[in-house]
């Protein structure tokens, strides 16, 4: 025990006291537009061994409040209130005193594991460093290294002794996040703050990392505060939830209670805006209109009032306090809303949300009722292969291998249909898109757009085809030239294709209205818009030439949940209105289930399962699809805790050296359960996908076949 700890000990009362108690925390930053009040009177506590989920949109103050706990805010931030950690006040401590607590008793897991690790030290050294820094000289370097290996083993890094000597860049994202968790738990902390720990990761890896965090908590008995914008992630993981809006907690309570009976319209809207992967029929998504208020000059009243469909005069007059809700909840469930009582009822949260926010489903068009076979084929991809050479040497380049980014992909899209292309990052879905969009000859296979094969196209023909084939990118900030006003951005495709000025002007105004923006916005620059609005501008640009097929590359994954619903609804509406076809690439299966008519699941450059969305999601046949689906978190604590999870082991193999036979066999749980003699088939023969079938899976032992049941 160090002296500092001994001195603090009398303060520490036994378990009854929470690990962390934050009272009336206020954080503000100076800015040119006045002081930004990032956190305005936040109070919460984390008990020992408890998981508190902190949920909110970007800018709601959730990260700032936890940085305040860590004492990591920049010097110009003004912090007031009280932060008591194990009974000891943290506000006002010097940086040196805080350093004794940080990393030892409070640990942090950051969002981006790549920047959280030093690239020039081995991961073993970095874990050992965490031990040595707080070891007070009692721990020898050798012991620290040995303990580091133990910790790496604990967080599930295979072959930890050898991998400890590897550098961060040699690890995948999920493995890096495990290392960060290992560092976090190295000193047996009492509190772990995890800031969006899984946001940068794939769903399959996200499930693994959450599992590791759970293990870490069991081992250390620490309290965890997990910050996230994804209500699905915390449903199964957190015990209590705190929803933040505009720098304050607007609702807190036990997870189950909040999900089943939210008492604040914002929480309600958040719950209603998430598409569910576990619900078969399409439910309407609730968009929360507008955007979070500017925190520099908040008007009086409830900050959510301008976006709230239930707002009454009282809401604009005074900000409601966070008080226990009447009825079911008890004191644990608190909400800050003048009308929270009226939200009590027997209906499910989703139903209430749909009613309160007035969301509705887009009516299917006549086109949707025409059978697929009778509709025009908009895009046909046949045996598409894209290989990249791996070269070494600068002067004399030698080819040392081939990256098989896309290795024989076939699918087609008919008029008015949405094909969802899903898979982990690195599975080749983006390469497939880029091959289609570049209209160049692929390594092998054919791509035909509206019946014309791309490799035979001349320049003029290619330009004609481009009119029918447009793209919406993932990151709306990167996809719009920051130096061009919105008018020029939307006018660009029209200008390229030779429309005259009056026509362009009329069309730009039409397009802005079509995507729900005001025509006067044409004179502004992209930087003046919010993420959702920028994505709408991107969609307007894609629709300028009245295309037949729009390629959507993760169009909503960079947006906040409440905004995401608005964009998904817009895409749905436009599809019906303009009879568009979409090629929708996403890693979020819940979104894909909501928008797609057909789904293709990709793994390591190949499609492993393709079929109608209801049958693929309802009765997945390929083990990979089943694993993906089970990894998607469901925003319902009851379902989430009951659900059986298939957690895939390991990472995606390198596409430069795919496994023989079935590519998925190295991570396949079906394969692992097979007797030796039946595995031979998987190792030696590659399963073929019958692309012509309505629902096909590239697996030797698909789920519905009798063979599996005998296993």
């Amino acid at each position: 025990m160090t002296t500092a700890e001994a001195a603090a000990a009398p303060d520490e009362r036994p378990d009854a006291d929470p690990v962390l108690r934050v009272d009336d925390l206020q954080v503000s930053f100076p800015s040119e537009a006045g002081r930004v009040h990032a956190v305005r009177g936040l109070s919460y506590h984390v008990d020992r061994g408890e998981v508190l989920g902190i949920v909110g949109e970007s800018g709601s103050g959730k990260s700032v409040s936890s940085l305040a706990v860590m004492g990591l805010l920049p010097a110009q931030a003004r912090v007031s209130g009280s932060i008591r950690f194990a009974g000891r006040e943290l506000i006002g401590l010097s940086d040196r005193e805080l350093s004794g607590i940080r990393g030892r008793r409070i640990a942090m897991v950051f969002q981006d594991p790549l920047s959280a690790l030093t690239p020039v030290h081995t991961v073993g050294d970095q874990v050992a460093e965490a031990l040595l820094v707080h070891g007070g000289g009692k721990l020898s370097t050798k012991d620290a290294t040995a303990r580091a290996v133990e910790l790496l083993d604990l967080v599930g890094i295979p072959n930890a002794a050898a991998r400890a000597r590897a550098f961060p860049h040699e690890f995948s994202g999920g493995m890096r996040q495990r290392v960060v968790i290992a560092i976090a738990i190295a000193n047996n902390p009492d509190l772990i703050i995890a800031d969006e720990p899984t946001t940068a990761l794939d769903v399959t890896v996200q499930a693994q990392v959450l599992e590791v965090l759970r293990t870490a908590q069991e081992v250390t008995g620490a309290g965890i505060a997990i910050i996230t914008h994804d209500l699905g992630v915390v449903a199964g993981f957190a015990d209590r939830l705190m929803v933040m809006y505009a720098g304050r907690a607007v609702e807190t309570g036990p997870v189950r209670e909040i999900y089943s009976a939210p008492r604040m319209p914002y929480t309600l809207g958040l719950l209603g805006s998430i598409p569910r992967v576990d619900v078969a029929e399409k439910q309407p998504l609730v968009p929360i209109e507008g955007q979070p208020p500017s925190l520099s000059e908040l008007p009086p009243g409830c900050p959510f009032a301008p976006r709230c469909p239930l707002a009454v005069d009282a809401c604009r007059a005074a900000e409601p306090p966070l008080v226990p809700v009447t009825g079911t909840g008890g004191v644990a469930h608190r909400a800050a809303c003048h009308r929270s009582e009226e939200l009590a009822g027997d209906r499910s949260a989703e139903e209430t949300a749909v009613q309160v926010f007035g969301a509705e489903l887009v009516e299917p068009t006549d086109l949707a009722t025409v059978p697929r076979a009778r509709r025009q084929t908009v895009l046909r991809v046949d045996g598409l292969v894209k290989h990249y050479p791996l070269t070494r040497g600068t002067l004399l380049r030698r080819r040392v291998g081939t990256v098989r980014a896309v290795d024989g992909v076939s699918f087609d899209i008919v008029r008015g249909e949405t094909l969802g292309l899903v898979g982990e990052s690195g599975c080749g879905k983006t390469t497939t898109l880029m091959e289609i969009l570049s209209l160049a000859k692929p390594t092998a296979g054919t791509i035909s757009v509206l019946g014309s094969t791309v490799e035979s196209l001349g320049r003029a023909e290619a330009k004609r085809i481009r009119r029918d084939l447009q793209v919406v990118f993932q990151d709306p900030t990167a996809a719009l030239d920051p130096r061009l006003p919105v008018f020029d951005i939307i006018a660009e495709p029209l200008r390229v294709h030779g429309f005259d000025r009056p026509h362009i002007r009329r069309r730009v105004a039409d397009l802005l209205e079509l995507v729900g923006l005001r025509p006067e916005f044409a004179a502004r620059y992209p930087a003046e818009f919010s993420g959702g609005q920028r994505q709408r501008i991107g969609i307007a640009r894609a629709l300028a030439l009245e295309p037949k097929l729009v390629v959507l590359d993760e169009p909503v994954s960079a947006l906040d949940v409440s905004i995401q619903a608005g964009v998904i609804n817009l895409l749905d509406e436009l599809k019906a209105k303009l009879s568009l076809s979409y090629l929708f690439v996403a890693h979020d299966l819940a979104v894909v289930r909501h928008v797609a008519d057909r789904v293709a699941v990709m793994y390591l450059g190949k499609i492993v399962e393709i079929g109608d969305a209801p049958s693929v999601f309802g009765a997945p046949r390929h083990p990979y699809t089943r694993a993906l689906l089970s990894a998607v978190p469901v925003p319902d604590p009851v379902v989430e805790r009951r659900r059986e999870r298939i957690i895939l082991t390991g990472d995606l193999p390198s596409p430069a050296d795919p496994p023989s036979g079935c590519r998925f066999r190295t991570r396949c749980f079906t394969f692992a359960a097979l007797p030796e003699d039946r595995r031979v088939l998987c190792v030696e023969r590659e399963p073929v996908l019958d692309a012509a079938a309505d629902h096909a899976a590239a697996c030797h032992y698909p789920r519905d076949s009798t063979s599996l049941q005998r296993v």
Binding site: F29, S31, E32, A33, V36, G59, P74, P287, E289, G290, Q291, P306, G358, L437, S438, A462, K463, R466, R467, L469, Q470, A478, A479, D481, P482, R483, L484, P485, V486, F487, D488, A491, E492, P493, V496, R505, R506, R507, V508, A509, D510, E513, G516, L517, R518, P519, E520, F521, A522, A523, R524, Y525, P526, A527, E528, Q533, G538, R541, G566, L570
Partner: protein, 322 residues
Amino acid sequence: MNRMAADTANTPGGPDAPATATAGAVRLGAAAGATRGRLTLRRFLRNRLAVAGVVVIVLLYVLAFAAPLFSPWDFTSQDPDAYLSPPSARHWFGTTQIGGDVFVQTMRGLQKSLSIGLLAAVVSTGLAAVVGAAAGYFGRWADRALMWLVDLMLVLPGFLILAIMSPWLRERGWFFFMLMLAAFMWMITARIVRGMTLTLREREFVKAARFMGESPWRIIFRHILPNMASLLIVDATINVGSAVLAETGLSYFGFGVQPPDVSLGTLIRDGAPFALTSPWLFLPAGLLLILGVLAVSFVGDGLRDALDPHASHGRFKEKKNA
């Protein structure tokens, strides 16, 4: 649709006119002519210092060409009654050691140096932008060939070449001299531009332009170069000063502007040794050079801010995101 329109109601800045009417131009309202060119011009004109810079440059030109007309002296003429005399009513800026009128000489020098400085800067930065962006954007053989050219130009001693070419240049006049000056100033910038192009090329808005069928050169001029405008403008601003000085250096060794002709550079060079005893010899030329370069840099700043939508409130945005 109404629902979505409401989404946009509380954007920064606030609405200035309700969406009405049918014709596109009417609905766009004030935004109708909101192309980049007009917006940039509007933003540039709003910047007082930048406009003042333009005015100063124009005035300098007017002064340089018009003022000698009001003086009885010629830049070659000598006044045997006034050797090294301080400014007076007869000689406004004084005279040189051999009785030359400093005012007229300064104006003569200003005519040359202004044109050489401004043009050389524009030509060299423009060349750097085009070569660098082409090398970066097209890659492959274009990249190798152009970078090979850049490396070649970098190792060639520019001074030597100019010296060898000077008899030929003398016949052609100052314009070709300016071109030669510019030809040895662009390489380093071209390399920087190439590097920036390599990253910009992979940005999604460039891909988007490519996927909508925009031609490569238009992508370079519409998307790539405007996004590195800050670099190019700073580069051009610095080049104005260095071109004027480079010309002086060459003149010193007998190339470039030759006596009895003068440039601001030669005037400064000749007058500097007497700075303490007869400051009128170089002060006018020096001050005019400073004024000119200062005006150019104000114009450059204004242009950069006008082109960059973040310029005025960039800092605030950054903090808000943090």
